[in-house]
């Protein structure tokens, strides 16, 4: 099996976060009642005509520049013809032979630790289709055209990826770039970022590509990784058994963890692409492209470098924080307010990341803001709360975000730093744990930790841990 290498190419569809659709002025927002974000144009009523939303071009050019593409100054829209009820015009307006952006690349960390450029063949603009809802009661299918005409960019990579890890890295990098330049919210669970995955395998050293299969519309990193691994292994098994790979579209089944052939398509589709005569050519001036270039924000790679140099973060931490524009902004703003970047970094890398992972939340969905996080750090620094209380405050911030000071007041979580009160607890714990005293005296330092822990428990975590430490040692030594 190790004789083989996997070759992966990805076609990523990202919904652009323009306010209105690509060819009409309907809103693009997600989750509305079916067919309420529609008009005669996106419903393809007879006689209606598309008008290209200039923001879509701007966003796509931005994406192209951020991924090192050449921007085409002379581009056009083409019609891709096919029948399906979610496609009201019976053609999708896309771009065929003159995409807006071409020949770019995205840099990732390859499996062997080196930097690797994943080349982009092209980025083009197109419209999304509607959605079919299969009615459980009536047995029929209902068409919802809210999504029809929502602008998309399709980012097509060259077959430069060699493992599922590389594919995941590439996707994460792409997602992070699109978030940074604010052209897509990349919410995978809402389908605003999805990928068609092309997989083939070949013997190592072989220069020709093997026959590829395609899995369409995948919208989670986890399933993409699993699907690539499954599919590569399946293809290797077929070849090892002397079989042939058929070029086809497969369906990935999340539950069984397998790919299935989609045999229901009788024959290969002929999309009969031709230039859309309803739309004039897209012509961009050098000045226009330059202007967008100037407006490009700092990209993840640059930010990461800055974090290494300015904040002296570790490579790993800088990677994690810079990967998400939201995390990076949170980090920088909170650090500035509390003047303790190291602490903010630690909170983001450990506790916040942990909660995000556990709840499968995207950074952009973090409910609290930089002020609240900074306040948390300040309260610890001032000794108002202990770090164990702070962890509880953080949980509270996720659940019901408000001023941390308010939270601790409300919950009565202010740290006990009163010597008399501390002494009282210390004496009580000592009287209950004579064995620990003996252990400590015998040189077992761990016993002290146990005693402090007991005291924290009795004070519900509110006692000042440094004072506890100090006082336990004093009291034991007195005896």
């Amino acid at each position: 099996m190790s004789d083989y290498e996997t070759v992966i190419g990805l076609e990523v569809h990202a919904e652009l976060s323009t306010k209105t659709k690509i060819f009409c002025s309907c809103p693009t927002s997600f989750g509305a009642e079916p067919n309420t974000h529609t008009c005669p144009i996106c419903m393809a009523m007879p006689g209606t005509l598309p008008v290209l939303n200039e923001k879509v071009v701007e966003y796509a050019v931005k994406a192209g520049l951020a991924t090192n593409c050449e921007i085409s100054k002379n581009s056009k829209n083409d019609r891709k013809n096919y029948f399906y009820p979610d496609l009201p015009k019976s053609y999708q307006i896309s771009q065929f032979d003159k995409p807006l952006c071409e020949h770019g690349y995205v840099e990732i960390d390859a499996d062997d630790g080196t930097k690797k450029q994943i080349r982009l063949l092209r980025i083009h603009i197109e419209e999304d289709a509607g959605k079919l809802n299969h009615d459980e009661f009536g047995g029929g299918s209902l068409v919802d055209l809210n999504r029809a005409g929502v602008p998309l960019i399709e980012i097509v990579s060259e077959p430069d990826l060699r493992s599922s890890q590389e594919a995941e890295q590439y996707l994460k990098k792409l997602k992070s770039i699109l978030e940074y330049i604010e052209v897509s919210d990349c919410k995978m669970q809402e389908g605003s970022l999805r990928a068609d995955v092309n997989v083939s395998v070949r013997k190592k050293g072989e220069t020709k590509f093997g026959t590829r299969t395609e899995m369409k519309n995948m919208n989670s990193f986890r399933s993409i990784v699993r699907a690539i691994e499954y599919e590569a292994n399946r293809q290797i098994d077929v070849l090892e058994d002397g079989g042939k790979i058929e070029q086809e579209t497969l369906r990935w089944d999340e539950v069984s963890g397998k790919t299935f052939s989609m045999r229901d398509k009788e024959d290969a589709q002929d999309y009969r692409y031709f230039p859309d005569p309803d739309l004039v050519a897209i012509r961009l001036s050098d000045e226009y492209i330059e202007n967008i270039k100037k407006q490009l924000p700092e990209l993840p790679e640059t930010r990461k470098q800055r974090y290494l140099e300015e904040y002296h973060l570790t490579e790993k931490d800088a990677n994690i924080i810079s990967s998400s524009k939201y995390l990076a902004d949170l980090f920088e703003k909170a650090s500035e307010i509390c003047n303790n970047p190291k602490a903010v970094n630690n909170w983001i890398i450990s506790d916040i990341s942990k909660i995000l992972n556990e709840t499968e939340m995207e950074p952009i969905e973090i409910p609290f803001d930089c002020n609240q996080l900074a306040k948390l750090v300040i309260l610890i620094d001032k000794g108002t709360i202990s770090s164990s209380i702070a962890k509880k405050v953080l949980v509270e911030l996720f659940e019901n975000p408000r001023d941390p000071e308010e939270i601790i007041k409300e919950k009565g979580w202010i740290q006990i730093s009163d010597e008399g009160a501390i002494k009282e607890v210390v004496l009580k714990v000592l009287s209950e744990n004579p064995q620990s005293i003996a252990d400590y005296k015998a040189g077992k330092d761990k016993a002290l930790g146990f005693l402090v822990g007991q005291a924290m428990k009795q004070t519900k975590g509110q006692a000042n841990p440094q004072m506890l430490n100090k006082m336990f040692i004093e009291e034991i030594n007195k005896n």
Partner: protein
């Protein structure tokens, strides 16, 4: 003189000096419509009562001193492929038999703003595909000059209604000659404006790169007035051109002495009917008398225009008509077992034979493996045709050719032979291919008394010059005073 015999500019004068009211005008037309519709069969939808109500309200408002503009109360007929809010827009197709658009086409909106009264929706070849109006799902419109003959197409209802004085003027649409050919067959004036001069928003698309809305009128001055009302950039149609507003009536009456007319010999050779040829030659003599300079030249690429036209038009149509799928609106076949059957049966039953023929043709020329040989090649020839015309307009102010090689033919005589029918468009399609303005004006009648049309072609956006040249000819020949349709049965 009957009210319905007046031109629109005459009606406007009479409205202004209060010789006539909107109600009188509208009632006369509704009356004439009722009298002649049985013979001519020009309308798909008539709005008689509603039109009279509107006219009464306009008169009332005028009496109250409201300034409604000088066109308020003038009736019009509209080809049934332009969307009218709340009124059926059928494209003379079973597919859209009951379709009511929730919006107005931009041209309709413009007319409504002027308080122009819609008398009804006019018959046409289904989806504007045809040259005789025989391809309507509903009825075959007759030629008012001889009811056994076709009115031409596809705007046959519009041309016949104007010719028969059932409407004072009408809107048509022209993809390959659909305004000019019926205007020629019915002895009226038909103008196809430069591509991009009039908004296509709300015009049910046949071939998007060729379609253009234009006036069909009793005389050239009316055509200029109606063009004034409908021309102009529309932000809903990005192919409509931004340019300064012109008054197309301003230069109508200018002297044409010294103007150069190019006559391409290819349009006067084989295939052209002798009487048509003679009539055109007489027209050329008239222009000479008016002081214009005539020169013969060669426009030989034009011979490929017809083939080019049918490839491009059908290709675009095959895609444009995909939306009629039985899902959201329009005809849906009954008892379909699955999705594929909905598509198959709805489209098979909803479209007529000619529409299906063109969809199949268009699908074929766009198919992989054929695209380069047909569609791409056609686009290349299209560029050549444009260049050839450009060269012509470096020398000539206008180009003069027949509108059709023949006069109106008998109903049924060509409907079984599609290719012969396509040949009726041979003189008109190159104008669409090149995106130029073209006007058809009557220049005589043949022995049977059927009108003959002369076509003038202008350079892009030079409608003023085109109308000026047409007007001079019309004033010199007075066709309308000499000939009137006879409704021969």
């Amino acid at each position: 003189m009957e009210i319905t015999e007046l031109t629109v500019h005459e009606l406007i004068d009479k409205l202004q000096n209060k010789e006539l009211t909107a109600t009188q005008i509208t009632q006369s037309y509704v009356g004439r419509m009722k009298e002649k519709e049985g013979d001519v069969k020009a309308f798909v939808t008539t709005l008689g009562d509603h039109a009279i109500e509107q006219a009464k309200s306009i008169d009332q408002k005028r009496e109250n001193g409201e300034n409604l503009g000088k066109y308020a109360g003038i009736p019009i007929g509209i080809k049934d492929n332009m969307c009218t809010k709340g009124i059926k827009t059928t494209c003379s197709s079973h597919m859209l038999e009951n379709f009511v658009a929730p919006y107005d086409a931009t041209v309709v909106e413009k007319l409504e703003k002027e308080n122009i009264i819609n008398l009804g929706k006019l018959n046409m070849d289904e989806f504007a595909m045809g040259s005789s109006t025989e391809h309507s799902y509903f009825k075959k419109t007759a030629n008012p000059w001889n009811l056994n003959k076709v009115p031409g197409g596809s705007s046959g209802g519009s041309a016949a209604a104007v010719s028969a004085n059932m409407v004072p003027w009408a809107l048509g649409s022209d993809t390959g000659g659909s305004i000019r050919l019926p205007a020629s067959f019915c002895g009226v004036v038909g103008l196809k404006p430069t591509y991009g001069l009039v908004s296509r928003y709300g015009l049910v698309a046949f071939a998007s790169s060729l379609d253009q809305i234009g006036p069909i009128t009793k005389d050239v001055e009316d055509a200029a007035i109606l063009l004034n009302l409908i021309a102009g950039h529309d932000e809903k149609d990005t192919t409509s051109v931004v340019q300064e507003k012109k008054d197309y009536t301003a230069n109508l009456k200018k002297d044409i002495k010294g103007k150069k007319i190019g006559v391409p010999k290819e349009f006067f050779g084989e295939g052209i009917n002798q009487e048509v040829k003679e009539s055109l030659e007489k027209a050329i003599e008239t222009y000479k008398e008016l002081g214009a300079e005539i020169e013969e030249f060669s426009l030989d690429v034009a011979q490929y225009a017809l083939a080019t036209y049918y490839i491009i038009a059908c290709a675009e149509a095959s895609s444009n008509l995909g939306r009629f799928d039985g899902i959201r609106y329009g005809y849906r076949a009954k008892e379909c077992g699955n999705l594929k059957e909905i598509y198959k049966k709805s489209r098979s039953e909803g479209f007529g034979a000619e529409v299906k023929r063109r969809i199949i043709l268009g699908t074929y020329v766009l198919s992989s493996g054929y695209y380069d040989a047909y569609y791409k090649k056609a686009q290349q020839v299209r560029t050549l045709v444009m260049k050839e015309f450009e060269k012509g307009f470096q020398k000539y102010d206008v180009i003069l050719i027949p509108t059709s090689p023949t006069v109106a033919f008998d109903i049924g005589s060509k409907s079984s032979n599609p290719l012969e029918m396509y040949l009726a468009d041979i003189c008109t399609v190159s104008v669409n291919i090149a995106g130029l303005p073209g006007i058809s004006i009557p220049c005589g009648v043949n022995k049977e008394g059927m009108p003959i049309g002369m076509q003038l072609i202008g350079n892009k956006f030079e409608e003023e010059k085109l109308l000026n040249m047409a007007y001079a000819f019309e004033q010199a020949t007075k066709f309308r005073e000499n000939y009137q349709p006879q409704f021969i049965k």
